[in-house]
Amino acid sequence: MKLASDEYSNLTAYDELLDHNLHPRPVARPLFDYLNSLDEKELSARREAVEATIMAMGITFTIYSESGNIDRAWPFDPIPRIMGRSEWDRIQAGLKQRLTALNLFINDLYNEQKIIKDGVFPAEVLTGSGNFRPQCVGITPRFGVWAHICGTDLVRDRDGTVYVLEDNLRVPSGVSYMLENRQIMKRIFPEVFRTTNILPVDDYPTQLYQTLAALSPRSGSQPVIAVLTPGIYNSAYFEHSYLAQQMGAYLVEGSDLIVGSDDVVYMKNISGMERVDVIYRRIDDNFLDPEVFNPDSQLGVRGLMRAWRNGKVGIANAPGAGVADDKVVYAFVPQMIRYYLDQDPILANVPSYLCMYDDQRDYVLANLDKLVVKPANESGGYGMIIGPRATPEERAQFAKLIRANPRNYMAQPTLDISTAPTLVDGKLAPRHLDLRPFVLQSDKLYATTGGLTRVALRKGSLVVNSSQGGGSKDTWIVEEGDQ
């Protein structure tokens, strides 16, 4: 492979597109035939076209500061990540299985708690949960579904096994970038779409609309759907407005809504008050309703929980769904799948050690230099330690935190997560990546075709978050029959 950088000679991780001889894997052959036909000049011209397209499409992050608002272009790598359809079909089935079990679990927790009574899930995990909402006890939302939109993070280890890293059940974001990435690729590399049968991704907005519409309390009429955003200063605002636009929904802020004494949610329209049937909320539970949660919230709507509890409005994800978005709860998902569905998990969990158990905690403390330790309720990579990359002082400090609050910590072996060729200075260099597919559930189940591939653009880095030097790639699921 003439474009492969020297960095490939030292690579230990699994590469998504190149085998250990640096030959393209079968699914990637047409792409590399095409790439090899370009010289470096043409390749960098495409790269510039990509950047110009991203700026013109306005796919940006806005960083708001006192000195003004800076728009940073969405960091995008033009080399796609490719997966064969047969592998994807298995993953997709695993994602649906997982979300089904998670929803049964959440509904059980807020109602009979059979899984605890049957000794499969320990009561003390629930007691220590930061995202359990007592205000939701006794409620069964329509279809028994709490998490309607789930973003599941997947990684591939050295031996090729795909693991679930975490289930994001609160307000997962990134799907708009998945959709826009494909638009960019179609504009810049239309030729490759002729040589490979790439499955489309653009039915997500329709599927999301149908998932939400199924939650409408009024049957017969076309439901009024609103995306509830914290506002333009939120870093995911782009996505909120994008999804509203794609679905033909309203984009609302808390101050645009009001709950009447009839418990119905209304929207302040220029023609008068209009009833809202379903709210796709992109703000956290705690800010949702000052009447029930954080009383100082300016973002939410007073009375919203009342409206939801009385069945006057559908809310996705349901308040309280985040109870299953907890890294300790995560460790029990395989048991949940067996318990509720009587099936073997299709997708593997990363082996996990729970510090709440004495023997597992001892192991974690003794092996801190080999493990990644994560707090239960954080997301976005906050408050965690990557043992092999930390200093002895940092590890000692972290050991204290674990001993002080064992329920709040879990540990996993450091995975050698997979790479894919990424354009760096005119060459293709291996960069680590993950994959976030989005899974929907209401009356039906749906999983995206592929998902958002996030890539750590810095050499050797494992951090894919866009705020910390991460970027993204288009993700292709391809029909293998065509190869």
Partner: protein, 328 residues
């Protein structure tokens, strides 16, 4: 449509119209300057004055020369009406409106913003660069209008855009008309009449009205005819009467407009009956000022009625749709 979104949309339309009008005004003023003889003078500061921005300008700029005024009107983001500011606000508003606008709209306005951001400083460099950049801005803005009229559903959002555009446009036409009082000639100039004609020609040009005027009114450019054309001619889309009638048309389509449609209607009737041909320079100036105040009344009425109709703690049980419709 959400009251908050409607307000953002209205302002988006006003900002875009203002950016385009400022670009036109600068280009046509530059053009006429080239035709003025030595001894005739045009104060660039008047451009700032007709826009009602003189105190802000004086605060930040020691000298009112062409370069300073161009920087102030084109690229100064401390001036909320500079072209860059207007385009930036329009873009910020569009970000909050993507769900009510055609998908390409965001991309167009975003591109316009990126263009102005990149080129505003270049436009301030020389008259030639300035002409080219401002012309591109005007063209891109036309593409946006084309997108609105050609691809957007003619729904409430469309009416709100038209509303904002026409309120801003009516205001700007009166301001451009007012500009001519700023031109001073040597008293004894034998060329006085020819020069005056040049100046009025520039007025027409800055509103893209010259050709239409010649076709519909006269080959001669006379002050009285130009004033009449720009205030009254219903065939010309930038005449004040035409703008007012467009505002009425929008209100006819918008919900619960029966309480405020009389405001533009009354204004248009008053204007239609007013004979403006023989007003002196000073009288015309006063009259145009009054018209601008009247547009302010229209703007305030729209804002209060549609955008700020819900004060905090409004209860929909007390103010149901029908009550909003019929109570005053």
């Amino acid at each position: 449509m959400l009251a908050r979104a409607a307000e953002n949309l209205y302002w988006m339309a006003r900002y875009l119209e203002r950016a385009e009008n400022t670009a036109r005004l600068i280009n046509s003023t530059t053009h006429v300057l080239l035709d003025l003889p030595h001894g005739a003078s045009f104060g660039w500061a008047n451009l700032v004055e007709i826009a009602g921005l003189d105190s802000l300008f004086k605060k930040n700029y020691p000298q009112a020369d062409e370069q300073a005024i161009m920087r102030f009107l084109i690229e100064d983001t401390d001036n909320p009406s500079s072209i860059l500011s207007c385009v930036q606000y329009a873009r910020e508003n569009t970000r909050t409106l993507r769900e009510v606008l055609p998908a390409e709209m965001w991309e167009r306005i975003n591109s316009l913003y990126l263009y102005v951001r990149e080129n505003a400083a270049i436009a301030c460099r020389s008259r030639r660069d300035r002409y080219m950049v401002l012309n591109n801005i005007i063209e891109q803005r036309h593409a946006i209008i084309g997108l609105v009229s050609g691809t957007m559903a003619h729904d409430i959002a469309y009416q709100i855009i038209k509303l904002g555009r026409n309120v801003e446009r009516a205001d700007m036409t009166t301001r451009i008309l007012d500009l001519n009082s700023a031109v001073q000639f040597p008293e004894d100039s034998v060329l006085h009449e020819t020069l005056m004609e040049r100046v009025w020609m520039s007025t027409l040009n800055s509103l893209s009205a010259y050709q239409t005027y010649r076709r519909l009114v006269s080959m001669r450019v006379r002050r009285s005819d130009v004033i009449k054309f720009l205030l009254h001619d219903m065939r010309f889309p930038r005449s004040v009467e035409h703008c007012l009638s467009e505002i009425e048309n929008c209100l006819r389509v918008l919900p619960r407009s029966n309480q405020l449609i009389h405001i533009p209607t009354q204004l248009r009737h008053d204007l239609a009956q007013r004979s403006t041909e023989n007003l002196s320079v000073a009288e015309l100036h006063l009259y145009l000022d009054r018209l601008q105040a009247d547009f302010g009344v229209v703007h305030t009425a729209l804002t209060q009625h549609y955008f700020h109709a819900y004060s905090d703690g409004d209860n929909p049980d007390k103010k149901s749709q029908t009550e909003i419709e019929f109570t005053k």
